[in-house]
């Protein structure tokens, strides 16, 4: 495992922020297997109200809104437009949307704040995986000519990646169980977690395979959820917090959609994004890694060159709750919360999208 002083090969030039931007507040819905009582707007409203209320602001204090969601989850067109009812966009203001995890919406808002086009932004993500068949829905994000017509489910694709990791001699099934056991235990202190339990790895190893070599514990739960973050630049960052949590680096990179053209055991896009975000300039105390499958934490941990002293996924991570389209944003919020509470001074959050860690985002944050 490389150390921060010895970053992975292929590192890219550092890209420094031109304007300090802070994570001013963070809120999330309680993650559940199925919320069939509320529509998306009703699910989002309390989350956005909490994100605003915790720093005593209103919608009138943000001048940009950006969301991350996908119509494929709800099965209806333009669901992000209807979701704006949860904010109340009157008088009109700049608004955007990404058909991606809201961590990428956060990136778009951060860029706009970098440009000085806005001073504060509301970013949110939402999705209910319970409305359809997630295995079929996620198959449709694959290349439409060679892969999607075969309907390969995401668990099988992740299993191919896990198998490659084992064949390369870099992990064992027991390693996956150890990660899942740690995640479940850490999730006990996360009131929003869906899967939380004090269980030892050897017990988890008794589970049957879902798709070999992945047992149930190495898979993410299916989750309905939502999350929101308020970004603040300039004076607003200081107005809304005595000790702002600053974003010191932010980048995302993508790899080819052709799974056969990738070495699935490594994540060069994560390393490139981390280098450009300045992660390797100093050690971090906490890392929130968006690894929906247990083995992916090992791949990302190596790509981020995290030493063994780094606390990984104190929230329980995506194995404890995986609300599609907001699980990545929640990693940023959870990492920022560790800095805000004083548990960490410097932290990194990672988000992923696509099959087998195809696209990766890295956000580095520091306290005052």
């Amino acid at each position: 495992m490389s150390s921060p002083e010895n970053p992975p090969s292929g590192s890219a030039p550092r890209r420094r922020p031109v304007r300090p931007v802070s994570i001013a507040s963070f809120a999330q819905a309680r993650n559940v297997r199925q919320d069939d009582h509320h529509n998306e707007v009703e699910m989002l409203m309390p989350v956005i109200a909490e994100a605003f209320g915790s720093i005593s602001i209103t919608k009138d204090d943000v001048d940009f809104i950006c969301s991350g969601s996908t119509d494929y989850l709800i099965g209806g067109p333009f669901s992000f437009v209807m979701a704006l009812d949860a904010v109340g966009v009157w008088p009109p203001r700049a608004e955007s949307h990404v058909e991606m995890d809201a961590a990428w919406a956060l990136y778009e808002a951060w860029v706009l704040l970098q440009e000085g086009a806005a001073d504060a932004a509301l970013v949110y993500g939402f999705g209910r995986s319970s409305l359809g068949d997630l295995n079929e829905i996620l198959a449709l994000q694959l290349d439409p000519y060679y892969l999607a017509p075969l309907w390969p489910d995401p668990v099988s694709l992740a299993a191919l990646q896990a198998r490659a990791l084992i064949d390369a001699g870099r992990a064992t099934e027991a390693d996956f169980a150890a990660i899942a056991a740690r995640s479940r235990k850490d999730a006990l202190s996360n009131p929003n977690a869906q899967v939380a339990k004090d269980v030892v790895a050897s017990t988890l190893m008794e589970e049957a395979y879902v798709v070999s070599p992945l047992r149930r514990h190495a898979l993410p739960p299916i989750t309905d959820g939502a999350a929101a973050i308020v970004l603040a630049a300039g004076e607003k960052a200081h107005q809304w917090s005595d000790d702002p949590v600053w974003i010191t680096g932010f980048d995302h990179r993508i790899e080819t959609h052709s799974l056969g053209a990738r070495d699935l055991t490594v994540s060069p896009s994560t390393s490139t994004a981390a280098a450009r975000a300045g992660l390797f300039e100093a050690p971090v105390d906490v890392a929130e890694i968006h690894a929906p499958y247990a083995h992916q934490e090992l791949i990302v941990k190596e790509a981020l060159a995290l030493g063994d002293s780094v606390v990984i996924n104190p929230s329980g991570g995506a194995l404890a709750a995986n609300p599609i389209m907001s699980a990545g944003l929640i990693r940023v919020g959870e990492a920022a919360a560790r800095i805000a509470s004083g548990e960490a001074h410097r932290a990194v959050a990672h988000a992923t999208s696509g099959p087998c860690l195809q696209q990766n985002l890295v956000c580095v944050m520091e306290g005052a």
Partner: protein, 175 residues
Amino acid sequence: MADEPGGPSTVTEDRGPVTTLATPIRLDFNFTPGVAQSRFLMGLADGKFMGQRCSVCSKVYVPSRGSCPTDGVPTIEDVELANVGTITTYCVVNVPFAGQSIEIPYICAQVLLDGANLSFMGLIQEVPTDQIRMGMRVEAVWVDREELSPSLASVRYFRPNGEADADYETFKEYL
């Protein structure tokens, strides 16, 4: 000579490159209307239109999706609306299309129920298509009591109720 079963196939003609690929896609979803829309749907099963009022701007939405899209606050006050309303705008449908269940020509109109601040689409019947107009006053015709269900199918259609047309000023905000 024909290929042996299980043996290698023989290309007997050059059919050119593959230029198109059909990949049928179908996904099935559950629909969950949420708290506010459930109230609206249950109202239909009871033979009435239920809306919700915003506590900030006092506008009444029917159907409500649980929030005021202007103020972004939850709408918690339920309001029962009248059975009558005004046609704000309309369309005479003359074009047949797949799955059409109504004989053409027919009239599709936006109906603003009395007391509501949001119009919704309804079928207009019992009026010749050349007599339909903006501002026409209409009433809902419901299915028989035992056929009511939590669906807009509970409303068979709207028809003119004989009142004088509404003044344009009263509905110009709702076009």
